[in-house]
């Protein structure tokens, strides 16, 4: 039986049919090697691209003939994901092992040197660690502010009251505005000469009030602006949980004269816990990438540079592409570890409950 199969696949390997993906891979590898050896880098790029397309096409035809339609249906999504996401990711991972600057034509393999530099260099490393600590601080502050505000807003809007519909739309508006628009709005809001905040504080205390002239003030300003934009997102998720709690549970609890506090923890909370966890996960991942508000409000001044800010500065402005890539991968690694840790803890709790 095995012998038959081997001989069958041996024939199939050289059979130039459209679904012979093994042959396609061989041809692709051969073409790639030849191109790398013989052609200039620009042409090689396209030859490799064509080889990948060839293999992909063979897979598609193979799936079609084997009637593997499920695979075919997700194929477009996978293709887009590969082109837009996986390929650039792998490409930048490759770049992080080279000395490459996007404004220079030379490229040289340096192994782990970029990683060593971002973690240990006496100029680069302290800046990276500072930015990482700032990022951690922003993650904790912004996520906490959004979760609390969003949760309280949801509790408010779960009840019926006059004008609720219109107020809800108003509260949701910040989420729909572009970050740049909100950022510019807040620069005026916080401005010591033209801004209403300094005006109001000045009227109350009689002293000139400058919010962003120290780190605490600058962080408060950024956290406030971020919470203003993203609390509605948390609110929406929690609100969805709140309205899904069946009314009869509360009625039963009321008959049993259960206190409001107890009602919340034993009836409401279990329903919204999953959604709260989801909101927490989304907002934490987003908060790790905080760049826009720091840039617009204070340009990374008052020691508020986050790691995303630093990467943008290194990779996009100073053109140190491979160093930026290495730093990005260090952060990616941290985020993956943290996210998995979080998911593990969340699952264990669920099982314990």
């Amino acid at each position: 039986m095995t012998a038959v199969r081997t001989s069958h696949s041996a024939i199939a390997l050289l059979d130039p049919s459209a679904d012979n993906w093994k042959l396609a891979i061989l041809v692709g590898i051969a073409a790639t090697i030849l191109a790398v050896l013989a052609l200039p880098a620009n042409a090689t790029f396209w030859v490799v691209g064509a080889a990948v397309a060839l293999v992909a096409a063979a897979f598609v035809v193979n799936a079609y003939r084997k009637r593997y339609y499920g695979g075919l249906l997700v194929a477009p999504a996978i293709a887009v994901l590969f082109v837009m996401n996986i390929f650039p990711l792998l490409w930048s991972l490759g770049l992080s092992f080279f000395a490459y600057q996007s404004n220079q034509q030379s490229i040289r393999f340096v192994g782990l040197n970029n990683y060593i530099k971002v973690l240990t260099n006496d100029i680069a490393a302290p800046a990276n660690w500072d930015a990482l600590i700032n990022t951690g601080m922003f993650v904790v502050c912004t996520v906490a502010a959004q979760m609390i505000t969003g949760f309280l807003l949801a509790m408010l809007f779960a009840k019926q009251f006059p004008l609720r519909k219109y107020l809800l739309i108003l509260v949701l508006t910040p989420m729909m505005l572009s970050v740049v628009a909100s950022g510019v709005f807040f620069t005026y809001y916080f401005d010591p000469t033209f801004g209403i905040l300094s005006y109001a504080m000045g009227e109350i205390t009689g002293q000139q009030f400058i919010l962003m002239d120290n780190k605490a003030g600058a962080v408060t300003g950024i956290v406030f602006a971020d919470a203003w934009m993203w609390s509605p997102f948390v609110m929406l998720l929690v609100l969805a949980g709140l309205v899904s709690v069946p009314k009869y549970l509360y009625e039963a609890a009321a008959i049993d004269r259960v206190s409001k506090w107890r009602q919340f923890w034993t009836i409401t909370f279990p329903y919204i816990r999953g959604l709260l966890m989801l909101a927490l996960l989304f907002r934490t991942i987003e908060a790790f990438k905080l760049y826009d508000l720091v840039y617009i409000l204070i340009r990374g001044g008052q020691d508020t540079k986050t790691i995303a800010y630093l990467i943008a500065e290194i990779a996009n402005e100073q053109n140190k592409t491979s160093e930026g890539a290495a730093l990005s991968y260090v952060i990616l690694f941290m985020v993956i570890v943290l996210t998995n840790l979080y998911l593990y803890l969340a699952n264990r709790r669920n099982q314990g409950a």
Partner: protein, 476 residues
């Protein structure tokens, strides 16, 4: 059948690749030439586009289209840098900031223009009548050699914007005289004669709270003495601080002395530290936003236009906005040269960091595009258009134009233009400039927001520059 399928697959892949390859190249025909241009969004480039649309007739008879991307200043470098380094080859023609030359010449993006100049002796002659300081800053790389890359688009210097209604008020004049035993500068000539100490006095003198008397009336709001750039973004503090350092006998790292010239010991010399201290000392007399490190050239300009300060040092390029209908100070303006430092011989030292931008051509621009671009630049630098540009709020660095007696009558700040040209220097043009600049801006920001003193700041900058430039082989 199977062979057919395979052929088809291959053809599709190849076709796709070919489309992508060809898509980047331009499709210019003989009759219609399109020039795609990246420019910062502000009055001097808006005027350029307006002149082109209204007046420009190509000599060749071709239809020339100028597609202009107006990019806001704070993001201008990032956007152009991203476009050039990504290899999209979008722009033929860029209004580049002068410091960028090294980075983009070494990257292979900016085209050398010596051959274009040599092919046209008449054009070369015009080119050579441009004042040498702007010419060196905008065109040469390595700095001050005869390798040309840019044609001046808009030359710029820092000038002193003053509020005539307040400075010339009798009561204020009297009080200032009593306090400092010196006349409060009020006319353009008096502004020209100011030193930084006088500027500081003006700052101290005009700090008023809401309700205090200001020029005979109670102030409607808090009023501040002075302002100049002290922001963390782009180059919005270095451009002012360099002037202080050069005037007071200090120096920045000099690229023309590479590889012998050092950064340590030069950048943080005692003179430079003193100059930075003087710069920092005046921040107390500025609107409070300066303490947050976001006082860039646009913020200080806006504060001045909103009538919050008595004097503001800013680029001429923003001058047009102060005359605009929505400016609260449009009919109360007086302009003078940037304050200087009195030398030991009693002569004023006026070193200042040059502003302004050249046009540059990119290396992928085709011959027909180059021809049209050069024709356009020749037209732009012709005497008639340069006069119109100056009359519309621009400036000219062409000698015959700015020496014309008519020149000073166009705009109130033009009188401060020609005398300052001899005193202009530029910051580094080396490929590492942006790293040097961001580190320096970060350090200056720490000093401006009161986190560290002038000495530490310059020591940190000097050490960074020494290491960085040694690593790049620019310091031995």
């Amino acid at each position: 059948m199977t062979v057919m399928t395979k052929m088809k697959t291959f053809a599709t892949a190849a076709g796709f690749a070919a489309t992508l390859l060809v898509g980047g190249a331009s499709m210019a025909s003989a009759e219609e030439v399109t020039l795609t241009m990246a420019v910062p969004d502000w009055p001097p480039t808006r005027i350029l586009k307006k002149f082109f649309d209204e007046q420009y007739k190509p000599k060749s008879g071709n239809t020339v289209k100028l597609e202009v991307d107006f990019i806001p200043w704070p993001d201008f470098y990032t956007r152009v840098n991203a476009s050039l380094t990504s290899g999209e080859q979008k722009y033929n023609f860029i209004v580049s900031d002068s410091q960028w030359l090294g980075a983009f010449v070494e990257g292979g993006y900016f085209r050398k223009i010596n051959d274009l100049l040599e092919a046209d002796p008449e054009f070369m002659a015009t080119f050579k009548t441009i004042h040498p300081n702007p010419l060196n800053a905008y065109s040469t790389y390595p700095h001050k050699t005869e390798n040309y890359y840019g044609f001046p688009q808009f030359p710029d210097v820092l000038v002193n914007y003053g509020r005539q209604d307040i400075l010339c008020h009798e009561e204020e004049q009297k009080n200032f005289q009593a306090k400092y035993s010196k006349k409060l500068p009020c006319t353009g000539e008096e502004l020209d004669a100011m030193t930084w100490d006088d500027f500081r006095n003006v700052g101290e003198f005009f700090m008023r709270k809401k309700g205090d008397m200001l020029a005979g009336k109670p102030a409607e709001d808090d009023f501040y003495g002075i302002s100049y750039q002290a922001g963390k973004g782009y180059d919005f503090s270095s451009m002012q601080i360099n002037g202080f350092i050069w005037q007071m006998g200090g120096d920045t790292w000099d690229e023309t002395k590479a590889p012998k010239g050092q950064a340590e010991g030069v950048v943080n010399s005692p003179e430079a530290v003193k100059a930075l201290e003087k710069y920092l000392d005046m921040i107390q007399f500025m609107p409070p936003v300066a303490k947050t490190g976001t006082m860039d050239i646009f913020v200080s300009d806006q504060l001045f236009r909103e009538g919050k300060v008595a004097m503001n040092i800013d680029w001429i390029g923003l001058g047009e906005a102060s005359l605009a209908p929505d400016s609260k100070v449009k009919d109360k303006l007086v302009f003078g040269q940037m304050p200087g430092t009195m030398g030991a011989d009693g002569k004023m030292i006026r070193w200042s960091n040059i502003g302004g931008q050249p046009f540059v051509l990119t290396t992928w621009t085709t011959d027909s595009q180059i021809k049209e671009a050069v024709d356009f630049v020749k037209w732009w630098l012709s005497s008639d258009i340069q006069h119109q540009f100056a009359a519309g709020g621009g400036q000219s660095a062409v000698k015959a134009v700015y020496e014309d007696p008519k020149y000073v009558t166009y705009r109130p700040w033009n009188r401060a233009w020609a005398p300052q040209l001899d005193w202009q220097k530029d910051v580094w043009h080396v490929p590492q400039f942006f790293e040097l600049l961001t580190q320096q801006q970060d350090q200056f920001d720490l000093a401006i927001t009161g986190k560290q003193d002038a000495k530490t700041t310059l020591d940190n900058i000097a050490k960074f520059q020494q290491d960085k430039l040694k690593e790049s082989g620019l310091i031995e």
